[in-house]
């Protein structure tokens, strides 16, 4: 395949992925938006007023970046894991496997598809958040940079989960038992200063803490941790996951007998 043909194959996968989640928008776009609106109403309006300030910000302003990041993470992950596993389940992944499309193009196609949904939902939630909180964007490059890298990282993780999954149960285990606790304990709703020295240090092993803090810094200018560290951690994890995912596709693990 020459480069032009590879580009056609890549855009075909991305277009098909976007078409898939747009076709089933009541399942893919509406629920995350409703969930986040409920978070804003409950934690922002109802409870947030009684909490007062967090790290010097009104609680709703503190929590909004974390909620946006939460929607980016869960939607990037769930799009790739459900689409790739669905292709395995219906065996239409074979359409790609019998074609000359290189594995790295297949990987990028699915990942960009997942990022499209993650970022799309993230954009919707950001627009909605403007109704609940006032923002003055602190740093556009940091905001865009960290959200792109986070979406990339969780799309890659979703693909790895899908490769190993043998049933639909297997694609919900990681989001339920790993991803959700990491997000909730990743500084979305509180500053790690509240945890004290020991639990604050334990929190530092949670990669989501770095993403949420970098994103919060980009939006409102406050962070619990070093921004360079955040980018370094997310970049390192993304590179690692990329090579693991590519290796799985090259080997044909659980795809070719």
């Amino acid at each position: 395949m020459d480069n032009h043909q590879k580009w056609i194959a890549f855009t075909t996968i991305v277009r098909r992925e976007i078409h898939r989640f747009m076709r089933i928008w009541p399942q893919t776009l509406v629920p995350p938006v409703i969930t986040i609106v409920l978070y804003f109403v409950i934690f922002g309006r109802l409870i947030g007023g009684r909490i007062g300030e967090m790290s010097g910000l009104p609680y709703i302003q503190f929590v909004a970046p974390g909620l946006i990041m939460m929607s980016v993470i869960t939607n990037s992950y769930s799009n790739v894991v459900s689409s790739f596993y669905g292709s395995k389940f219906q065996r239409n992944i074979e359409e790609l496997l019998v074609s000359p499309t290189p594995n790295w193009i297949i990987l990028l196609g699915y990942v960009v598809g997942g990022m499209s949904r993650g970022l799309g939902v993230g954009a919707l939630v950001t627009i909605l958040s403007l109704y609940f909180a006032d923002f003055s964007l602190h740093s556009l490059p940091i905001t865009i940079g960290i959200v792109l890298m986070t979406s990339l990282m969780f799309s890659l993780a979703g693909l790895i989960n899908a490769v190993f999954a043998n049933s639909f149960d297997d694609i919900s285990i990681i989001p339920t038992f790993v991803l959700t606790p990491l997000i909730y304990l990743g500084g979305v709703f509180y500053s790690i200063e509240l945890l004290g020295e020991f639990w604050g240090s334990v929190s530092l092993i949670n990669p989501i803490l770095y993403m949420v803090n970098a994103f919060r810094y980009g939006m409102v200018g406050i962070t619990d941790i070093n921004i360079a560290w955040s980018f370094g951690m997310v970049g390192l994890f993304s590179a690692l996951l990329f090579f693991v995912a590519l290796n799985l596709l090259e080997k044909g693990s659980r795809l070719r007998s």
């Binding site: 078409h19 239409n92 074979e94 359409e95 790609l96 074609s99 007998s257």
Partner: protein, 315 residues
């Protein structure tokens, strides 16, 4: 690539051992000439689908050499894949997508520009009688339509080698005939075709050459004509005008009574059926019609597979 070759597919000492230790292929050799219409026959579990899976990259071989139009799949699988179109046994498309989208996407995976893909999709959907169903979810198609959709999908990159695994399984007779005509037409236009089938009449009607595979070994690889000529005896069903009170006896012809007006007889290649008719007429019985009990190829197939099984038992 070796340009001098005229083989569409060359397989040498191909072996496949699955992770559970099952040996599906035991070093098979196969050569399919360019332009051929080739049948790969064998009972369930013989190794047909494994062979096809290796050709189209869905199964990883353990040992051996496979070249497709001169491309060694170990050295350049991407190059080899450009030449192969595959129609699998099981439906393997997204049932929620529309046929037109399935075809255009498949072309995209082969790097074919959208405009050409749209033209080809329309052409093949028309030719295979699916154009009026092009924009409905594919799960609403009938079984026969789904099979034709998979044939159309396999042709989107205009492969020089088309591999079909049981293409007419579960398809009614009328539709099967129209699919045969379609396959014969694309074979005439130069596409090499390999098919596996359980309908041996299909292999006899369509194919020029055949390989019979059993227990992971090729037990016969020859032309259909040559194979049929090996047939030593045939079983005929005879319908008599007169009712049979008992089974008649004719020396050299083992007759069996099936019902009051039907006889079954095995006739050796060296014997004359006229002799049998004359002997029955002399006993006051007239044969009004006659047919083969089984397809001729079917008899040979069973003989070869049984022989292979016996050799295994002896070995």
């Amino acid at each position: 690539m070796n340009q001098s070759t005229k083989s569409a597919l060359q397989i040498s000492q191909l072996t496949k051992v699955y992770e559970d230790g099952f040996v599906a292929l035991k070093g098979i050799d196969l050569n399919v000439a360019e332009g051929d219409f080739f049948a790969l026959l064998g009972p369930n579990g013989a190794g047909k689908s494994t062979t096809i899976g290796i050709i189209c990259s869905l199964v990883r071989k353990t040992e051996g050499l496979v070249t497709i139009f001169g491309y060694d799949i170990d050295a350049d699988f991407s190059g080899a894949k450009q030449y192969v179109g595959v129609v699998p046994q099981e439906f393997n498309f997204n049932q929620f997508e529309k046929p037109i989208d399935i075809l255009i996407n498949q072309a995209g995976y082969f790097g074919i520009p959208a405009k050409i893909a749209a033209e080809r999709a329309e052409k093949y959907l028309m030719q295979l009688g699916l154009w009026d169903r092009a924009h409905v979810p594919s799960r609403t198609l009938s079984g026969g339509m789904k099979r034709r959709l998979m044939i159309a999908r396999a042709l989107m990159h205009e492969p020089k080698l088309l591999v079909l695994d049981e293409p007419t399984a579960g398809v009614d007779i009328e539709l099967r005939r129209s699919m045969w005509e379609f396959l014969q037409e694309i074979n005439k236009q130069g596409t090499t075709i390999i098919l596996t089938t359980h309908y041996l009449e299909e292999a006899e009607s369509l194919c020029r050459n055949v390989a019979i595979i059993d227990h992971g070994q090729i037990v016969q690889n020859t032309s259909i004509r040559e194979l049929i000529s090996q047939l030593n005896k045939e079983t005929f069903i005879l319908d008599t005008r007169e009712q049979l009170s008992s089974c008649p006896e004719v020396e050299g012809y083992p007759l069996k009574q099936v019902d009051t007006n039907t006889l079954e007889v095995e006739v050796e290649k060296t014997q004359s059926i006229n002799e049998l008719f004359a002997a029955l007429t002399s006993q006051g019985l007239h044969v009004v019609s006659m047919r083969n009990k089984t397809n001729r190829l079917e008899e040979l197939f069973f003989d070869l597979v049984a022989k292979n099984l016996q050799e295994k038992g002896n070995g």
